[in-house]
């Protein structure tokens, strides 16, 4: 039975760094709801902005039920995963969590990656992963943080089995990941 690590975390908290580390040193396979949303937004010829991903996720949930995207992600995992360690990335709401708990039970671990908001702003301004991220002011960043879809991340985070605090250096984060993996594996 493979182990599933669910990742939740605010914008710029470092989910990508955690995911890359797990992939590189623990052979984890990455599955993200944002891949599903990104490909869909791209098929629809719309700009690849965070705003469009969120809008798409919301209408899909409205039209086909709250778990539609996560159910699809689980189907992807079931049909494509080959290894023993799987990352399920992009959990944002309590509704997102339910299908994983139901499907995987004790083999599912929820990990919350978090960092100070100022640090997160600086990191996301630097990486420009999504269209428009580079030009945002700190005030705009804070305003986005207050949206319901972002607030739910903290709520999910409170249910996490492990919290990774990414306020420090990369090394500190890596040490936390190693300690956590010793308990999980």
């Amino acid at each position: 039975m493979p182990k599933i690590i669910g990742l939740v975390g605010e914008k710029g908290a470092g989910k990508g760094t955690v995911s890359d580390y797990l992939t590189k040193y623990y052979g984890a396979e990455h599955f993200g709801s944002s891949d599903i949303l990104k490909r869909t937004v791209s098929d629809l010829n719309l700009p690849l902005t965070r705003d469009n991903f969120i809008k798409l996720a919301l209408v899909l949930k409205e039209g086909f039920g709250a778990t539609v995207v996560m159910d699809a992600l689980i189907e992807d995992i079931e049909s494509e995963a080959k290894g023993d360690l799987i990352i399920a990335d992009g959990i944002r709401m309590l509704d997102d969590l339910k299908p994983f708990k139901e499907k995987y039970g004790a083999t599912f671990t929820l990990v919350y990656v978090t960092a100070d908001v100022r640090l997160r702003y600086e990191r996301s301004a630097k990486r420009q992963e999504k269209v428009g991220e580079g030009e945002m002011t700190f005030e705009q960043f804070l305003a986005e943080e207050r949206r319901l879809t972002e607030l739910s991340i903290h709520e999910v985070g409170r249910q996490a089995d492990f919290i990774l605090n990414n306020d420090g250096e990369q090394q500190d984060l890596e040490k936390q990941i190693q300690d956590m993996m010793e308990k999980i594996l």
């Binding site: 599903i36 490909r39 869909t40 098929d43 629809l44 010829n45 719309l46 469009n52 809008k55 798409l56 919301l58 209408v59 899909l60 409205e62 039209g63 086909f64 539609v68 995207v69 159910d71 699809a72 189907e75 992807d76």
Partner: protein, 180 residues
């Protein structure tokens, strides 16, 4: 400038058959209005039922604009390198408005009686759930949000293909239209 033939017609009137024949005999490439919707349903691991496609189309257009799907198709067609393109499954007035903006576009309407179309629908395997439909359900489907504007789109076509007969007759009619 590529030639673009758009196809409109009610369920199971034979649009797919016309599209396939045009593509094979006249070396065209087929674009379908339902293709982006089918791709998304596949990605979400959902069945390609009429209900799912109509629901998906409605919610996406509500969120991202009524002309969303037609903009996608027009963009795809603009990037296409082929000289002859077939645009299958035009059903909404906003779709035909967008299609008409493309130079070289002509609209063909495909028609057949409802009994004939019903018989064809239950026989083929295109969409999940169609095989179990009664004639009443079939007539009901035609009044749905996704289907009720088809007649209004077809009314804009000066070329009408009657497909109550056999394939041979249909192909002959297409060949006539293509030589003119």
């Amino acid at each position: 400038m590529p030639k673009i033939i758009g196809l409109v017609g009610p369920m199971a009137s034979g649009k797919g058959t016309v599209a396939k024949y045009l593509a094979e005999k006249y070396h065209g490439r087929v674009f379908g209005f339902s293709t982006p919707l089918r791709d998304i349903l596949t990605r979400l691991h959902m069945d390609h039922t009429r209900e799912n496609m109509a629901n998906l189309s409605t919610i996406l257009r509500q969120q991202f604009g009524q002309d969303l799907i037609s903009r996608v198709i027009v963009a795809d067609i603009t990037e296409a390198k082929e000289e002859f393109l077939i645009l299958d499954g035009i059903r909404r007035l906003s779709d035909i408005d967008a299609a008409k903006t493309m130079p070289g576009f002509v609209l063909w309407a495909v028609q057949a009686d409802s009994q004939t179309r019903y018989q064809r629908l239950v026989r083929r395997q295109q969409n999940a759930g169609d095989q179990q439909k009664t004639y009443e359900q079939f007539l009901n489907d035609e009044q749905s949000e996704a289907d009720k504007t088809i007649a209004a789109v077809a009314a804009q076509s000066r070329i009408i293909i009657d497909n109550n007969g056999d394939l041979e007759k249909l192909y002959k009619k297409i060949d006539e239209l293509m030589t003119n």
